[in-house]
């Protein structure tokens, strides 16, 4: 049996419209400033942002560090917190899903802490850790751990009960069922958590840096505001968005590779 390849030709309009839309967006943005509709103290044009982007590779002033330094600091903080959150959150969530004792002990504390937005921890962390890297890592850790725990917990709870009963019938121990059945079947949910946790971490990183930092992309945005340089604010925002998007794509690729054999 042979397959005939189905060619889907997109309507030309559907190809052109997105391009027009993007061009219009930047065009309007640029012309708002070129024609002086919006004063340049409030908004920088895309070209100005681009110019600053190129300049910041080699120029330390006026915010005290190169663009690469800011990015590296942010990525370092985000990833330390993220990985710590995964290391603690995923095993905790999995165990909470399977062992009633762990659930009974961990759940109330988790439910107490969960409704507090991670940003609200900032003042306390400044008391505890000062304004250095550990404080920010703590905030990011808190932000990342919630989706990790919830997703791994739900993943285990959603295990097909027929599989568990079958394993019991064949005499598997509780631990064997947990490691051989529950964890593999929870994996897609756990990987879902990776993306969500990353997004949370990245958001809260910016929050933590806005408030207390001497380095990093969030700090760059704050400095841009203090120096009344809209181009620097916009550059910071663009870099935060871009870096976040790139990390998201990388994690997506890793996830696809690791989950290649699992049907979802």
């Amino acid at each position: 049996m042979s397959f005939e390849e189905v060619k889907v030709t997109k309507e030309p309009l559907m190809v052109i419209l997105p391009i027009i839309s993007i061009i219009a967006f930047f065009g309007i943005w640029q012309s708002l400033l070129s024609f002086g509709v919006v004063p340049s103290s409030l908004l920088a044009s895309p070209l100005q942002v681009l110019k600053l982007f190129i300049a910041k590779w080699t120029q330390v002033n006026p915010d005290g560090a190169l663009l690469t330094t800011h990015m590296w600091t942010s990525i370092q903080e985000a990833f330390t917190g993220y990985i710590l959150a995964l290391l603690v959150g995923i095993p905790l969530g999995l165990a909470m899903g399977w062992f009633p004792i762990v659930e009974g002990l961990a759940r109330p504390i988790f439910e107490l802490i969960r409704p507090i937005p991670p940003i609200a921890w900032i003042p306390l962390t400044i008391f505890w850790f000062g304004i250095g890297i550990p404080g920010k890592v703590f905030i990011i850790w808190i932000a990342g751990i919630v989706p990790c725990v919830i997703n791994s917990y739900v993943g285990v709870k959603m295990t097909n009960p027929v599989l568990i009963q079958m394993a019991r019938t064949y005499g598997a121990s509780s631990w064997q069922i947990f490691t051989k059945i529950c964890i593999p079947s929870a994996l897609p949910m756990v990987f879902g958590a990776l993306q969500i946790a990353l997004a949370y971490c990245w958001t809260n990183l910016v929050g933590a840096e806005l408030l207390a930092a001497d380095n990093g992309l969030g700090f760059m945005i704050t400095m841009g505001r203090r120096l009344a340089m809209p181009d620097m604010v916009l550059l910071g925002m663009a870099m935060v968005g871009l870096t976040g998007a790139v990390i998201g794509v990388v994690i997506d690729a890793v996830e696809k590779r690791l989950l290649a054999g699992i049907r979802r």
């Binding site: 009633p100 609200a120 003042p123 400044i126 505890w128 019938t169 958001t203 806005l210 505001r225 968005g241």
Partner: protein, 279 residues
């Protein structure tokens, strides 16, 4: 034998004898142990000043919350600050959902709208809402509008995404049924699309709400004269851990309350949700 065969029918309750093991593994017993341990540890650490004077004892926190309810801070009692934050959230949240949900539905239903809006939306999506704080202060100053703006930006994305995905993930069979029964495009949209997308839209609203709390706190931490974020940052500046923790407790309660409110609305507006989940 019963434990294997009757696993799925555990609703059939039989009275079990109370043994040491059954008490030790009882859910409520474990909850009690856990909470006692948590508050005990907290109290101990605060009492012994292991973290210096940077942690208040749980009872001190409660006391201080009572104090804040009766005494005004920057012109507002604790209720006033809680209301200031909640009001910002309600305003921003309603504006954003009133724009984002219809836009998301339109994007899912009309490919031309989708082709125009999606690229710009994708461009904005990865930018954390908190990153907008600086630009919104530049634009709107440090007053109320800048906070509402941040909340709108933050809540817009999940509202729109969920409305969009909610419609796209409607089961195609449902459309087939309506078509077989001779429904028009209008019937398809009104009878199938919207009811089926409703639970997803509400899930989006819940996510939006938690994002909104993050945003409003961040905005208040950066610059404000009222709101719960102001309370905790003031507590930090004055070096009063009890005030910070009291503020955090108030935030948790307020956040919980608003999400319960949305949950309640969902139950009222969309009673068919459970049936759809069961499909």
């Amino acid at each position: 034998m019963t434990s294997i065969a009757n696993e799925t029918q555990s609703a059939k309750k039989e009275r079990k004898p109370i043994t040491v093991v059954s008490v030790l593994t009882n859910k409520w017993f474990l909850y009690a142990v856990s909470l006692t341990f948590f508050f005990g540890l907290w109290d101990y650490v605060a009492y012994k000043k292991i973290l210096g004077s940077s942690l208040a004892r749980p009872l001190e926190v409660l006391d201080y919350m009572g104090y804040m309810i009766n005494h005004r801070l920057a012109g507002n009692s604790l209720w006033g600050h809680a209301w200031a934050s909640t009001r910002r959230i309600l305003i921003g949240f309603s504006i954003a959902s009133l724009i984002a949900v219809p836009l998301g539905l339109m994007m899912a239903l009309n490919k031309y709208v989708n082709a125009i809006v999606k690229p710009i939306f994708d461009l904005m999506k990865p930018m954390p809402p908190i990153a907008w704080i600086s630009i919104s202060i530049l634009w709107f100053g440090i007053g109320e509008p800048s906070k509402v703006f941040i909340i709108i930006i933050g809540t817009f994305v999940p509202c729109l995404l969920n409305a969009y995905n909610g419609v796209r993930l409607v089961e195609p069979e449902l459309y087939d049924v309506v078509r077989v029964l001779g429904g028009s495009r209008r019937d398809e949209i009104l009878q199938v699309c919207f009811p089926a997308a409703f639970p997803a839209i509400f899930a989006g609203l819940q996510i939006s709400l938690s994002v909104a709390w993050t945003c409003v706190l961040a905005a208040e931490l950066v610059s404000a004269r009222s709101g719960l974020g102001y309370v905790i940052i003031k507590g930090m500046n004055l070096g009063r851990p009890a005030m910070v923790l009291g503020g955090m407790v108030a935030i948790a309660l307020a956040a919980l309350l608003t999400s319960q409110l949305v949950g309640f609305l969902e139950k009222v507006l969309c009673p068919w949700k459970r049936e759809i989940e069961g499909l």
